[in-house]
Symmetry: C2
Subunit: 332 residues, 2 copies
């Protein structure tokens, strides 16, 4: 047994947690105990179904975003491992009410493969499926060969915006185009001050010297792309915001939807500190933060770190962002 | 400089975070930069004002609960330190719209004293004030002499229920009686698997051997009342639930509102695991969980641990719990 993690058997964690989630939200959520997905307690009809999912350990993503105005189904893999194609297929069937299913997939090899297989099976069953691949993490953008940019916190914005459009009656091709448009103008960068510890392990995924910060981390306990000197919080926030602004070529007069996302154990005072700095940096460049979301939404177990996501915004995206949403995590 | 905390100068953290919170919720919240309180952007009128507050480091408590159906004003002290009487007094004036102000105070010596002084000043200014003292933590109930039980997560239920009643037009004596009734039937117990680290410190508030758990902790980095052997999660949850059930003398046929509250770095999978076990334990005794809330609502910086709060529920409390709420943290 490892030291002092709140845990039963590590292999039981995801199933136990899904049961706990269903017990916590009996009016909102239903879990499928066989295929480990969560769906709306009252499935929607007459709209395109939205399915997302991926490895566990990133909660409240994705199950916390199931509900009116956002997802229909969230499929849960083991911790940091893709759900199987059969799980995703079962979730796809559950989400379909005749107008097809939009898959929202974070760009990891296993997820991409398994969502693709599920889409092919669904097609054989005459369920139309389109897929939006979310690949916002610029830390991995220099890989010319390989899987490309990882998918991280921008997935929340894709789910919210596409969810609103689906609720308003948009058809499958329209939703897919909308999702791809959001992805095209969304970028994220992350850093960690301490690694996460995998359930059942007794040591963190990596160790850092006291004076260094892991820069460009992902959400699976992997190392970042470099190590940078530890610095005051405002300076660390700059080191995330500036490259994202540059990558999106944001300039005076532009507007964004922003997420300051905690990766696990970074606490609200710290995330608000980061939000303040982000607002000051963007405001100083004449960039309007049209909307922002600050909290731990796309986590990596108990990792101490945070990410900054910016999405170039226009009136349509802000309107869809503002549309009503009722999920366990987002509600307005 | 301490190692790897997302932080500027420790003494600036609270003010910076309040500014960040206001920037994140411009339509919902306004901060007072002089007295460090947060209030509704559009102050309510024609209702009793609800004011809470206390030391910082427990976010989203209390500012995350400011909004329609819950608090009018939340006053922020330094980390783990009471706000001053002058701060509370300024918040009391801001919350009053002519029908008086209900203070909701967690039972700590400094908070009790400063809210009391603020109430006396307010009385001199012809603002009627009543106070509800929240003292739910049974780990401290054996202190026959001294300040009595600490106030912890039950404060969220007091704020929600009194907030709903205030919104519905209840007068000040009615709200005070309601709050005291909730307090009288609410108890909490907490444990920690790792201590928190105070902003600017380089080491945690206490160290634990690998095989022990700190039992009966508070929310200020203090040690618990005892150390118990580390055990699987379900067993640790039992050790919190059973004493609370006994203290409230809950029996078959009773109903509760429950909170499984993360203290900082305990992550959603783990809190859902704890929620599942709590539901099973209570269900096995024939106790109905009428409503539950699972998440990190009353934290202690980055402490790894959790608490279980039970409140004996009746139809009135459930109805007030279910009433609409629009805050940064709770919304339905």
């Amino acid at each position: 047994m490892s030291r002092r993690q709140l845990l039963n058997a590590p292999d039981d964690l995801v199933a136990e947690a899904l049961e706990g989630l269903e017990l916590t939200h009996p009016g909102l959520l239903r879990r499928d105990p066989e295929f480990h997905f969560v769906q709306r307690r009252q499935p929607a009809t007459g709209k395109v179904g939205l399915v997302s999912g991926g490895g566990s350990g990133h909660e409240p993503l994705h199950a916390g975003f199931v509900g009116t105005g956002m997802l229909d189904v969230a499929v849960a893999g083991a911790v940091f491992a893709s759900p199987t194609a059969l799980q995703i297929q079962a979730g796809t069937v559950a989400a379909d009410s005749g107008r097809g299913v939009l898959q929202i997939v974070k760009n990891y090899t296993g997820d991409v493969l398994n969502f693709q297989i599920a889409a092919e099976i669904a097609d054989d069953d005459d369920i139309a499926v389109e897929s939006v691949l979310v690949d916002d993490d610029i830390a991995t953008s220099s890989e010319q060969v390989g899987p490309g940019r990882r998918g991280t916190a921008a997935v929340v914005i894709v789910e919210k915006v596409c969810g609103a459009a689906a609720e308003a009656g948009a058809d499958l091709p329209t939703l897919a185009a909308l999702g791809r448009r959001v992805v095209g103008q969304a970028r994220t960068l992350s850093l960690a001050l301490d690694a996460c510890t995998h359930p059942g392990d007794s040591t963190p995924a990596f160790e850092l010297p006291d004076d260094l910060v892991e820069f460009g981390v992902g959400i699976h306990g992997e190392r970042g792309v470099s190590r940078i000197p530890f610095a005051p919080g405002d300076e660390l926030v700059s080191q995330l915001v500036e490259p994202v602004v540059a990558e999106l070529e944001l300039a005076r007069g532009d507007a964004v939807i922003a997420i300051v996302n905690g990766l696990g154990s970074t606490y609200p005072l710290q995330l608000s500190l980061a939000a303040r700095r982000m607002h000051h940096l963007l405001g100083g460049r004449g960039i309007t933060v049209a909307r922002s979301l600050v909290g731990s939404y796309v986590t990596s177990l108990d990792m101490n770190g945070f990410s900054v996501t910016l999405v170039r915004a226009d009136d349509e995206l802000v309107r869809l962002w503002d549309a009503p949403v009722r999920t366990a995590t987002l509600c307005w």
